[in-house]
């Protein structure tokens, strides 16, 4: 399929005149009340979630959120107010409420809020790359697609249950600020998932597709960007082998980690640890802080010298990719780790200003028009070794006794991003450089700098995959953000492997 250019349009059902009227009312009121900074954001977020269970439709929901959020800075204090009413009177009233909130809360002991300088970017129009808007696809087609996939997997004798679901989102954002930037932006994303389950005497095992969520349209389900036919054909056999597999012997192993698993380890141990709001303590009460403190910038040995990690809000098909962020800062790319050394942080405008970091690098995001923008993750990705770098088979060939880990499943990491534990979809023993069948009940546990310090090799471009998630949580009230992480397959030496049955004491 070829890519068709889609024009960004104002968040419907409002037309351009209605959007302009609300904007003018809000920004005019902000100027009248002496705000030094104001961002007006009118958004429509359409989503559809469809789920089949053993080929029966379990639930489908078609949701449209529409509203306005206004953030002001007045007398050095910040206030945010939002509503689902979109008329000009309500837009002006929102500014009054945001100003009142800023002044009330300042009396409770607020420090002065400053935003990093950002020039006007004039009028910006931007859409993510997609062919078919997934929210416009009829429900019947979605059900038929998921039913077809379910049928293929369920037809295998040893598959007892199958669930198939897809979540599709289309965000339309209109943004305008007192600095003169105005943007109309559309972002589209889909996440299809199929999971098979086999009962097995005293328990059960599952195997889920490892196809990543993508900043693509409905064409993704038809094979544009992923080989669904092949993955669905392999799923039952992989599940059968997992059911028959022996339980892993706990101990130290060399790992080859597939990008379908490694993206989540990058997300948790690098993505969140290099958020400057966390490093400075602004998430201390909730998401946590970071071991990668500011005094170690340019000095912290994060991992092996072959480790290069970027933050990027321009990655094609990336879930955190934008034209412009929710503070009027264009999407951009920047170093986080270079030659294994901490080289930078992800920033929004208030964090950039409070830390003297210069300009924001465009990481402000709110998951709803009703939520205040906070610093959220860029697409944080590990660079591959290059076009002629090793294949995954080459990497496996260099391991004498180890495990090859594919697909993400369970994840947990501490509030300063030191100690993590991950499981996966499937685990293959490596013996003398070759795969030697699956094992099960595997979890790997490590401390971030130990793990990345033991990074011995990164695969070439052929192993590179853009993984990701729709549901990264942060902030209070809680917000969820979509984000992608690209990475190659890697070799990590001498990692602690747990047997999860032993851990449960059974």
């Amino acid at each position: 399929m070829h890519c068709v250019a889609h024009a960004a349009s104002p968040p419907g059902p409002l037309d351009a005149d209605q959007v302009t009227a609300a904007r003018d009312a809000a920004l005019g009121e902000a100027q009248r009340l002496g705000c030094t900074s104001t961002e007006f954001r009118l958004e429509r977020i359409r989503s559809q979630h469809v789920r089949l269970r053993d080929r029966a439709l379990e639930g489908a929901a078609d949701d449209t959120e529409l509203g306005i959020g206004v953030r002001v800075v007045v007398d050095g204090s910040m206030g945010f107010a939002a509503t689902v009413a979109t008329g000009p009177e309500q837009a002006a009233e929102l500014v009054t409420r945001a100003v009142d909130a800023a002044r009330t809360i300042a009396r409770a002991g607020g420090g002065r809020v400053e935003l990093a300088e950002e020039p006007s970017h004039g009028s910006v129009q931007w859409t993510s790359s997609f062919t078919v808007d997934p929210v416009d696809v009829p429900l019947a087609d979605k059900v038929a697609q998921l039913d077809d996939w379910s049928g293929r997997v369920l037809s295998a004798d040893h598959v007892d249950h199958v669930t198939a679901q897809v979540l599709a989102v289309t965000e339309d954002t209109y943004y305008a600020d007192l600095g003169g930037t105005e943007a109309t932006q559309r972002r589209v994303r889909v996440h299809p998932v199929v999971e098979a389950l086999a009962l097995d005497g005293d328990g059960f095992e599952t195997m889920r597709t490892v196809a990543p969520p993508a900043g693509r349209g409905w064409e993704y389900l038809g094979g544009d960007g992923w080989d669904w036919d092949s993955e669905l054909a392999d799923l039952p056999g992989l599940l059968r082998d997992k059911v028959r597999a022996p339980s892993v012997d706990a101990g130290q192993y060399d790992l080859v980690v597939d990008p379908t698993n490694l993206w989540l380890t990058i997300h948790e141990s690098i993505g969140h640890a290099t958020e400057l709001d966390r490093a400075l303590g602004y998430e201390a009460a909730y998401a946590g802080t970071s071991f990668a403190t500011v005094d170690q910038l340019g000095a912290l040995r994060y991992g092996a010298p072959i480790m290069h990690v970027t933050g990027d809000r321009t990655t094609p098909n990336g879930l955190a990719t934008v034209g412009i962020d929710h503070e009027g800062v264009p999407g951009q790319s920047f170093d986080l780790i270079r030659d294994g050394i901490l080289a930078g942080y992800q920033l929004d405008r208030s964090i950039a200003a409070s830390s003297g970091s210069g300009a924001s690098n465009g990481c402000a995001f709110a998951d709803s028009p009703l939520h205040v923008p906070i610093q959220r993750m860029a697409n944080v990705s590990l660079e591959p070794a290059g076009d002629d770098g090793p294949t995954t088979e080459d990497l496996i060939g260099g391991v004498e006794r180890g495990l090859y880990i594919v697909g993400d499943k369970s994840w947990s990491i501490d509030m300063q991003r030191y100690n993590f534990q991950f499981t996966g979809q499937r685990f293959f023993r490596i013996e003398h450089g070759r795969l030697a069948g699956q094992v099960r009940d595997v979890a790997y546990q490590a401390t971030t700098t130990d793990f990345w310090g033991a990074l011995e090799a990164v695969g070439g471009r052929s192993t590179y995959l853009l993984g990701g998630a729709f549901n990264c949580g942060k902030g209070q009230p809680g917000q969820v953000a979509p984000v992608s992480h690209g990475c190659p397959s890697v070799v990590v030496r001498n990692v602690r492997i747990l047997n999860t049955r032993d851990e449960s004491g059974r």
Partner: protein, 472 residues
Amino acid sequence: MTTDGLPPAQAVVDEVLAAAAPGSEDCVVLVEEISEVDVRFANNTTTTNGTRRDRKVTVISLRESGPGTAVGVARRGGAVDVAELVRAAERDAGESPPADDVSPLIEPPGAASLVSSLDRFHAPPDSTELSVLSGVLSGLAGAFSRARDGDYVLAGYAEHRSATTYLGTSTGLRLAHAQPAGALQLLARSSDGSASTWAGAGTADFTDVSIGALEDRLRSRLAWSDQQLARPAGRYEVILPPEAVADLMVNLAFEAGGRDTEDGKTVFSRPGGGTRIGDQLSPLPFDLRSDPAEPGLECSPFLAAASSWGDTSVFDNGLPLLRTDWIAGGRLQRLRYHRAGAARSGVQPAGFIGNAVLELPGATGSVEDMVAGTERGLLLTCLWYIREVDPATLLLTGLTRDGVYVVEDGVVVGAANNFRFNESPVDLLARVSEAGAAVRAFGRELGEDFNRTRMPPLRIPDFNMSSVSQAS
């Protein structure tokens, strides 16, 4: 029109039901009116804040389709175009295969337990304002100042929410419920970052919580951290405070779905088929219950479901929710079922209820009493980043957070490092050796989503601390 230009919720309900295709099509409409205020603080200063007004209108359209009934669900925010919304729901019903959770819609007048919900339908929604947090805001300035003087840093969060849900059906049912919910959380870190401690409380209206009370608790706990004691991974006697028990038991309760269990997918599945209902999960006669009338934890007495999912069915909208004992006398007693699933399985339906209480009848002690009765052990503050590792055993992993205190001969003698744990809450119930009195508890991780719990402190003789976490 209301002040924000939106028509009243009751008018939206009527308009939707009038717009639904007459005669053959049944319809359910939910209007949720939400008003929220919040303020965050960190580094001894207030940071972000928000005031917001939300309205969500959900239309559930039912269509008879030969072999069964198909469902279409559409939801819109704000000033909805009712005709467009109803058409979207009807279109999705027209494109859907028959549902497998079909039951007749609930008929009025509804159960005796719903009398106040019938009346509530005719009243305007509750709303909240920043003034609800005025006590918190006036307490903060002094607290920040004391923190600077005391060489520690405060962070935290206060939020209050009013959500009023209006339900109407084409069978004539009209119900509403107004649910207030709030929480105050406070965290103190020593200025050198070596120690951290937390306190949190759920509340309906902020009249029963204060910055000062939480601050006192934090200061005494920070003092415990003056003595830092390294402890290795291993199994420890542990006192789980009610806040930690809340997160573990809410995880357990979420897993108690009838359909998944019958399909063999949960810790409550019986190997070889069926469920473990009737099994003795604990040697102690614990009760785990949910009850909309639970004093202090009141929540919706009827079911409101904006989509069908797992053991929740849109057909059950308006179903009276009554006290449900998930575990009684230590035995697994009930699992969640919608009416259609319950009929298939020959059990009583049990809907999702917005509170949970774990209680050991007759237990009276507090955390302090349990510390006094401990020869050697660890007292935890709360748990964090709890994730399922193995659904078959409900093995959970996670971290201790914001204070692990070493107890020797009945007193706290210092603070230890944090740990990663691997434990199943079902196994913990089997191994618990002592419980205290159940008190209102706000789970560190799940409290914001599941505000209303009452939990006891528990003593676990052999809690599995899998590895050390360097986080402090």
